[in-house]
């Protein structure tokens, strides 16, 4: 399942770091962050609960970029 979320982030490199962090989060099959569109597209593993996984994704992203936001 694929879902996309609006995000808030200030720098392009931070967006790349968020993408890396999201990709490594358990339950996420693949993730793409577009800095220009301010969008994160997440493909979830089968059977994963998107809401729970996204919580972890946000946590992981906050670690690499404290000021980022993901609107769920």
């Amino acid at each position: 399942m694929k879902k996309s979320y609006k995000i808030e982030v200030d720098c392009a490199n931070c967006a790349n770091l968020m993408e890396q962090a999201a990709k490594k989060t358990p339950g996420v099959k693949d993730a793409v962050v577009s800095f220009m569109a301010l969008k994160m597209t997440v493909e979830f593993e089968e059977g994963a609960d998107p809401a729970a996984v996204m919580k972890d994704v946000l946590k992981a992203c906050r670690k690499v970029e404290p000021d980022c936001e993901i609107f769920m």
């Binding site: 392009a12 790349n16 770091l17 793409v32 800095f35 569109a37 969008k39 404290p66």
Partner: protein, 626 residues
Amino acid sequence: MNKKQKNALYRILISAALLILANVLPLPYWMKCAVYAAAYLTVGWDILRKAALGIKNKQVFDENFLMAVATIGAIVLAVVDGSGDFNEAVAVMLFYQIGELFQSIAVGKSRKSIAALMDIRPDYANIEVDGQLEQVDPDEVAVGSVIVVQPGERIPIDGTVIEGSSSVNTAALTGESAPRDVNVGDEVISGCINLSGVLRVKTTKEFGESTVSKILELVENSSSNKSRSENFISKFARVYTPVVCFSALALALLPPLVRTVMGLPADFGSWAYRALTFLVISCPCALVISIPLSFFAGIGGASREGILIKGSNYLETMSQVKTVVFDKTGTITKGVFEVVGIHHNKEEAARIIEYAAHAECASSHPISQSIRRHYGQEPDRNRVQNIEEISGQGVTATVDGVSVAAGNDKLMRKLGVEFIPCRSAGTIIHVALDGEYAGHILISDLEKEDIREALDALRSVGVTKLVMLTGDAESAAKQVAEHVGIDEYHSELLPGDKVEKVEALLRELGGGKGKLAFVGDGINDAPVLSRADIGIAMGALGSDAAIEAADVVLMDDDPMKISRAIKISRKCLKIVYENIVFALAVKLICLILGALGLAGMWAAIFADVGVMVLAVLNAMRALKTK
């Protein structure tokens, strides 16, 4: 500027003022230090905070950390050598923040201008309730509802006009500025602007399935298909920063050690300073921001011309196209059959077409339609009896008591009528009246008027091979291919054969630098569109299947758009490479000069911010497609 940016601007101004005060006012040493500290913290506290958080979260190597270490290092050096000159530390932080602010404004601007290009989302639909117009969310309008579109409004949902006539502007979708006339019975497409009259439209789709939603979805998703250049840069950025950091560390420690061993003074201070200069240069911002920005602007600029590109990876591939394969119908030709000649035997041409049109009055075949169109009147069905359609051959019927047979060679043979074969290329409809041969009608699919110019334009942008595939007969294919100037053609192909031909052409290219583009009208050619390196669907306005299957969607059927698309992609890629080379070259030069002690921190920060500004300005050029 938004709130965040204003905030940053104020901090920069206050800090700059404090820095000037510290230099101009005759203050005692400790007061000077206090003013410098205030200036430094005003502009740099958030960097220090993020650097600290980064260390806490074990994410050390980011630009905040680099800037923090470089400036604190410079402060420590100034204290140690007793100069008390903190200008450098404050200035580096100051310029870094100015660069960040500029970047944020530039990115915001380009986001807005591209969003404005694609601002085709209708906000409401008008429905009539008890004679009063009511505005509702287009999402809530059911299929088959009647909506009212007033002049100046955007058509919110695809549908058919049931009342009123007007002209509509499709510029937002196709880039074509000439308005299109619509009357009762015509299909209208969402996203177009109604110009003159009030239209009542019966919706044929839900909002979510309408053209405008499909296009917006496509554009929004395009940013998630990243190009090789983008992936290269994000990988590069991950490696570059740590490498420069460790080089800085080596630069600070190794030369003094070597000097000590050789019996020279260690000179720790000046090597430490050179190392700090390294850190300032190590920020990959210019690259990381300008590459996606260039692609974003390129895709935005193309969509303004009615060329929708589904991702920066396709933009990249598009720029390398060397072979263009056309599916004849709808790309080289109009895909509309027309009667181009009536070769009569005994009867008059007008009578032949009249009988044929009546005999074909019940058929919906494109050929029959073209005969009826040429006849120019609605056939009178009362004059026609005993209509019999023979699949793959033609039609027999009785018209005004005369038995009419209209069809191909097979039909004539079956009826035992002797016919005269036609030398011209195209579809031939023989007509026999009361079992006697009367003549034949020549029908052909007309070439697009500007197809030759379009093919020349393709050659001029570096396409070396033009191939035409068609299901038509050899003679028809040959005539068209020779007339428009195609290099290679393959005729009498079934849909499956087209995939094979494209695969063979791909093998010929050998998977090298040159790429193959397939251009189709999006009908029945989804497998070939997806097999080619890049699938281009043209005349896609209103055809969902084409929009889904293709990588590049041309909203109208103008063949000139193919070379435009290649040109736009070339320009965008050129900008991307310029930025990569320029930014890397400047950084490398600064690193070398820094290591040799020829460039100080001032030069480093100017180089860093300057490259970023230039790269961003260069990236914005991709938006201008003219």
